[in-house]
Amino acid sequence: MIAAAQDLWLSLRRALETLGAMTLFLGRLAAYTPVAMTRFGLIVEQVFNAGALSLVIIMLCGLFIGMVLGLQGFELLQRVGSEEALGVAAALGLVKELGPVTTALLFAGRAGTALASEIGLMRATDQLSAMQMMAVDPVRRVVVPRFLGGVIAMPFLAVIFSAIGIYGAQLVGVQFMGVDAGSFWSQMRAAVELEDVLEGVLKSFVFGVACSLIAVYEGFNSIPTAEGVGRATTRTVVISAVATLILDYILTAAML
């Protein structure tokens, strides 16, 4: 019993230490951001790596999640005779919740792991040490552009995810289930406010900061061995997923 309590205390302390270290690392990244912005080409390259290269998986998942939402929503709304409200239900669900959260989870799995393993391997193969020896700070040259690339890419990915998702819901609801197209689109336009869209964008921005920070932190602090890089990659996915869901609850509660 005492041993279990000690283990729990140690785990909690380690988690708090990691959180503190990540916060300090975020401060360091923020301090370098103005300098990094002067070399925007490096950031654009990372927006491409984190964003454009994740587009196919984001669009594909967005389409199918939208289609499932269309099916389930239609089935549910039909019971209360409000199937015309399918557009509103799908749009609000996707824009405010499913879009940002699912995009963040997919981002952590594709771009986050790529970031963590790339930086971890750079450490393991002495590339970061070589930069330091060339009087180049690897945090400024390698980490900050990758972090900013992820932060910039995430809201765009979430918007694309939601747009494709709405199309998927329309495909099932209107084309397959026979919901009136005019009702679907007009009710959606009438009910979805700009604040709803901004709420989704804000959430995806926060998730972008969290997931990108976790990925670059884990990669930069990984043990420089094959096992260490593998562990950093796994931790990136697990911590990002948990952080996304916790932050989602906090943000949703705050913006209600």
Partner: protein, 284 residues
Amino acid sequence: MSSAKTAAAPVPGAADANDVIVEIRDLYYGVGRRQVFSGLNICIRRGRITAIMGPSGTGKTTLLRLITGQIVPDRGTIIVDGQDLAKMNRRQLYDLRKRMGMLFQNGALLTDLDVFENVAFPLREHSDLPERLIRHIVLTKLHAVGLRGAAQMTPGELSGGMARRVALARAMVMDPDMLIYDEPFAGLDPISMGVVLRLIRQMNDALGITSIVVSHDVHEISTVADDSYLLAEGRVVASGSPKELHASHSAIVQQFMTGMADGPVPFHYPAPDYTTQLLVRDKQ
């Protein structure tokens, strides 16, 4: 009688203060419970090739990391080009590093850049030179290491020897005062090894720089080094020219220079008595 100086003999040959580019005094450094250096003293002379030799695990690479300020000693002084590393801030350390070039054991080329961009990297980071001039400098350095034709290749397409040569071109692209080589011959075939050896000598003589070469390839390094230090048990056990080290009667120097399996550096890692251990195991 050997003229190699054993124990704490810091400077091979006479040297005045201006002649010394790196001076290490009474250095102590440990990792965990393991003491890597205890009272290390070394002086590296300007314009010469100095070999740092020693069995595996004696801290040769750690010494390079200490000299370049990548890690901090527990005690002692490291003076590089007249500046005490302990008293330097980050900016001063980076300024010093701009005058140093380092060749890592595996080349450490940036894998997201091609050969040309790898060599151009320090220039792009530290200068506003026009593209034409950068191209000219990079091609000159690549030509010097015989790889001008490989400028568009990626690091993944290079052999170990080629990667080492590209890394050498990158290390000297800023025209440093000092070049540091970490195990430059490890894993190279005889031809590549010969090429790297020739390049080390050529660069040192043609550019008038100081070279520090960490290696345990005794025969290869002996052909180019002017001075050498042999490290063991956390300190310098012998110093002098490679010829002097070869002629030394010290048991540890002889074991290292002739590659004997057993001697002052034991073949067996410390363990309990063999028979006792086997019998205990049988009983279990």
